[in-house]
């Protein structure tokens, strides 16, 4: 393959999408389970007709945490997220070109667009689209979003998501995430792997999410965040309100990882978060149109 380091991949993707009219943002400073929850996707794409944005988003999925022992599974990982609104006619071609930019040559591989219907019930979002497979492995997804926050789009945004660790492991041909080269330094003392930087993170956060979290505190925090989100929407401050919606969602993820939520309770929590997200989106749009 090639020797792109993890950060090289990020630079190249940012470069490619910048050249395709995207504004390059930084990741959100709030815990989220996926890049879709960044307001640049969830709220801005509802509010703007012409909107092209790309960013790296750290994503936290406590349920997937495995102490760093499982070679393919992480509780904290990075997604590269792109929104193109309106979705361009040549979006598939752009996907392939972006892969070329990071060293995956479509003409040498078996690339497939395999049906994927995506949904994120916590923010009332769904869309139809594809997983992009490269020689049997899913390396990215793109979705034509039909709804967010329960609100249907007139102009459809295309969302592209790359699982960066997966892409890096593929490109660098490593079998365990901890062996991913994060950078390529002149002085080998400064060359670090993913594991050098984040393995301890994985261990400690897994122990926290699966064993040590204070569930009562999390339950109370969910309730408090829910309350504040509703209050702030009342005060016509949907953006700060949304930050509390995200916190509530993260507390739910932590409770879920701990195994204390039953099947029926889970449905109820998801419904609550979805309702908060819907409220924020609607309040934002109402404010914008006023």
């Amino acid at each position: 393959m090639n020797n792109s380091s993890f950060q090289d991949i990020i630079f190249k993707l940012q470069q490619f999408w910048a050249e395709n009219d995207c504004i390059i943002l930084q990741g959100l400073d709030n815990e989220v389970g996926a890049g879709t929850l960044h307001p640049a996707t969830s709220i801005m794409s509802l509010a703007n007709d012409s909107w092209k944005v790309a960013y790296v988003q750290a994503s936290r999925r406590p349920k997937d945490a495995r102490y760093g022992e499982n070679p393919n599974r992480l509780g904290h990982y990075y997604q590269f997220q792109v929104i193109l609104k309106p979705s361009p006619d040549n979006i598939q071609e752009l996907c392939l070109k972006s892969l070329e930019a990071i060293g995956i040559n479509p003409s040498k591989h078996d690339i497939r667009f395999v049906e994927d219907d995506w949904e994120n019930p916590t923010i009332g979002a769904w869309g139809l689209g594809f997983e992009v497979w490269c020689d049997g492995m899913e390396i990215m997804q793109f979705t034509y979003m039909q709804q967010i926050g329960g609100i249907s789009f007139d102009t459809i945004p295309g969302e592209l998501t790359y699982g960066l660790e997966r892409v890096a492991m593929y490109i660098q041909d490593v079998k365990h995430f901890k062996d991913i080269k994060w950078n390529s330094a002149n002085d080998p003392k400064f060359a670090k792997t993913y594991g050098d930087i984040f393995l301890e993170d994985e261990k400690q956060f897994t122990k926290y999410s699966l064993e040590e979290s204070d569930t009562q505190m999390l339950i109370n925090s969910f309730v408090a965040a829910e309350k504040e989100c509703n209050a702030l929407n009342e005060k016509k401050l949907p953006l700060p309100a949304y930050s509390f919606c995200l916190k509530a969602s993260h507390y739910f993820n932590l409770l879920d990882a701990r195994g204390v939520i039953s099947v029926t309770e889970r449905a109820s929590y998801i419904a609550k978060v979805r309702s908060l997200a819907k409220n924020c989106c609607e309040t934002y749009l109402a404010g914008k149109n006023a």
Binding site: E69, N70, P71, N72, R73, P86, S87, P88, D89, Q92, P106, S107, K108, H109, D110, I111, R112, F113, V114, E115, D117, G127, L128, F130, C134, D135, G136, M137, Y144, Q146, F153, T155, I156, G158, Y170, D173, K175, G259, V260, S262, V263, T264, E265
Partner: protein, 685 residues
């Protein structure tokens, strides 16, 4: 003669939707051609992930000119009606109208001529309609466009008589352009006619005919199998799906690292087939360490693609191996303690609570099926332990199967290991029931617990929803008991199960037992229907539904009985007797008892029947107690001649009031005898 060519070029259509879609499109065209009376020599539909193609050959350039007689009002109708009719056929004078006599009345008729129209003009109007009315199970919008389709539609090619047929569907205008294979020949090209079009498609690596493509894939796999001395595992569903994932199939053989081949076959097959859509092979009795992926390209270095696929599969199998090793570090019985934290149902506690209930009902069931209690308790502790393993977390459809493998590995008793897998059976109407005693009791305990528990908290199935699969549980219970010939008493079991639940949940309603039995009864009736046994026979036997196995035996014997001439004839006589008794009971407004007075007999036939019935009654009771239905029916059968003679010689309605009543009591005695076996009255002969 002109041909029509239509190609809809889009982003990839989900594999499973492709065949229904091309059929829908073809049917829509066929219907419209029929309506417009356009003749043609053939219509074909082809589909690839990116294209829907319709070809119609040898159409007429114009429709036929047609003369139609349109029927109007009667000549005696008022002026308004006649004028309205004239207007509707563009005539001004009623002298231009014909008159025809129909059933004695005179009607006005107008000759209208439908001019010939160019077929192209008709297609230009109709094709957009077909596209707008096309129905996808799910559809989406994209960009700024109005139209909806399964995935973004990018180009519409349409030629009639080798010229562009002009129409619009949303923002898309039809043209004469198509595209080659997306990765190998993606440039657009101009299309002149059907023949050159399909020739170019093939040259540009598009195997447009899905049937040919499917066969190619199958043949390539078979060839590879032969070359490597392995056997392809046929899978029609996988083949159909893979056919819908490529425009140009290129079968590539990959190897699986031997270190994974000791994983359970079910795990390997799930990873290889279900997750990766590869074809699997057998090497003798075992799974071969090969797979075939159908790539959508041909490159000058297919090795790269094969390596990539091997890596992905290795990663998945490495995961599975990781889970396997990790899970095996803990004994299953220790794992099962974690079930205290797994909810069975919010209102019914944890899975561990379920196991405790299963132990109690299991001990009760050992009244009907002998089992060693210690072994049973051990099996119980392990039966659901695999639900909390990593492996079942990753492969939830392998519950039970994984548990069995782990148990074998950890050295538990063989029958216990088997019971872990078998207690979920039967998994469907075509699956076997468990036959080992331990598996049977575990399976029954599990199903009774779920069925009764869900019912008690109101989670009953409706005609459209059965989320807890209670119908399947009930059918499973029925089949297990019948096929294993187990005589178990439903009311006792259900009541005991309710009692067990009420130990912890005293608010649950014990009177629901009757409803639950009724539900199982209905499932049984459905089950028997599949054996072609008429419903009246089931109805005759079903009231006494304590033991489903006994009821089933009775039904079989009764059915056989009624299929004999003697049997059918006997029942006819019986029904005749019942009819008489009922009629007379109504007339007299009384119910007759069995107290026959032998001194009132006038005929030998009366005495013969009476003695026969007396003897049979005694034996009958014994036989029913031993469930000897064949014998019991044999006895009943011996009544045939006596009854026939009786009806021949004796007139029931004697003028003598006492004799008449006595004869009615005799008939009642016969009726009551047969009723011990079944409600023969319900039979329809």
């Amino acid at each position: 003669m002109p041909n029509l060519l239509l190609e809809l070029y889009s982003e990839e259509i989900p594999a499973k939707l492709q065949l229904p879609a091309i059929n829908q499109l073809k049917n829509a065209f066929e219907a419209f051609l029929k309506e417009e009376k356009l003749e043609y020599s053939e219509i074909k539909g082809f589909i690839t992930p990116c294209r829907m193609i319709i070809t119609i050959k040898d159409l007429p350039s114009f429709t036929k000119e047609e003369t139609i007689e349109k029927k109007g009002p009667q000549i005696s109708a008022n002026a308004e009606a006649i004028n309205g009719f004239l207007k509707s056929v563009n005539l001004s004078d009623k002298s231009d109208l014909n008159i025809q006599n129909i059933d004695g009345k005179d009607f006005y008729f107008a000759k209208t001529i439908h001019q010939k129209v160019s077929s192209a003009a008709i297609f230009e109007k109709i094709i957009p309609k077909i596209l707008h009315n096309f129905s996808w199970p799910k559809s989406m919008k994209w960009g700024n466009y109005e139209i909806r389709w399964i995935r973004p539609l990018h180009n519409i090619l349409c030629l009639f008589d080798n010229n562009i047929l002009n129409f619009k569907f949303g923002h898309l205008a039809s043209n004469n352009i198509s595209f080659g294979h997306k990765f190998m020949n993606k440039d657009g090209f101009e299309v002149k006619d059907i023949e050159s079009f399909i020739k170019l498609l093939i040259e540009k690596n598009v195997i447009y005919d899905h049937l040919i493509r499917k066969k190619m894939i199958h043949d390539e796999c078979a060839t590879i199998a032969k070359q490597n001395n392995i056997e392809l595992i046929e899978d029609e569903d996988l083949l159909d799906e893979v056919t819908g994932l490529v425009e140009f199939p290129n079968a590539l053989l990959g190897k699986i690292d031997q270190k994974y081949m000791n994983l359970p076959e079910e795990v390997l097959i799930t990873s290889i087939k279900t997750n990766q859509r590869y074809f699997c092979f057998k090497n003798g009795a075992k799974l071969a360490n090969y797979f075939v992926t159908i790539a959508n390209v041909k490159t000058d270095n297919d090795e790269l693609i094969i390596n990539g696929n091997q890596k992905v599969l290795s990663a998945r199998l490495e995961d599975a191996l990781f889970f396997w090793n990790h899970d095996l570090k803990t004994k299953l019985e220790t794992q099962s303690q974690k079930l205290k934290k797994v909810t069975f149902h919010q209102k019914l506690g944890s899975v561990f609570d379920k196991i405790e209930r299963m132990e109690k009902i299991g001990f009760f069931l050992s009244n009907y099926i002998k089992v060693d209690k210690k072994t049973f308790s051990q099996a119980l502790l392990l039966a659901k332990a695999d639900l909390v393993t990593e492996m079942v977390g990753e492969f939830p459809n392998l519950q039970g199967i994984i548990g069995k493998y782990y148990a074998i590995h950890q050295g538990y008793l063989k029958e216990v290991c088997n019971a872990i897998e078998e207690h979920y059976k039967p998994l469907g109407a075509n699956d076997e029931v468990p036959t080992a005693t331990l598996s049977i009791i575990l399976a029954l305990a599990d199903k009774f617990d779920t069925l009764v528990g869900m019912w008690l908290i109101g989670e009953k199935p409706t005609s459209s929803k059965d989320p807890y699969a209670l119908r399947r549980s009930a059918l499973g219970i029925i089949r297990i008991l019948i096929e294993n010939k187990i005589d178990a008493n439903f009311p006792e079991i259900i009541n005991k199960m309710i009692e067990i639940y009420r130990e912890k949940y005293s608010e649950l309603d014990e009177k629901l037992a009757l409803e639950i039995i009724e539900f199982i009864k209905n499932r049984f009736i459905v089950y028997v229907k599949t054996s072609d046994i008429k419903h009246d026979i089931v109805n005759a036997v079903i009231d006494d539904f304590d033991s489903v196995y006994q009821v089933y035996l009775k039904i079989i014997e009764l059915n056989n009985f009624l299929n004999t001439q003697r049997g059918a004839s006997l029942v006819k006589s019986y029904l005749r007797a019942v009819k008489i008794v009922n009629a007379e009971q109504k007339k007299d407004s009384k119910i007759f008892d069995e107290n026959v007075n032998i001194s009132l007999f006038e005929f030998e036939e009366e005495r013969i029947i009476f003695e026969k019935v007396e003897i049979i009654s005694k034996d009958m009771n014994q036989m029913l107690a031993k469930y000897d239905y064949l014998e019991a029916l044999g006895l009943i059968q011996t009544l045939k001649e006596p009854i026939d003679s009786f009806f021949e010689k004796v007139i029931v309605n004697s003028e003598n009031y006492l004799v008449r009543e006595n004869r009615l009591k005799l008939l009642t005695k016969i009726k009551n005898l047969l009723d011990k076996f079944a409600s023969f009255e319900k039979l329809e002969i």
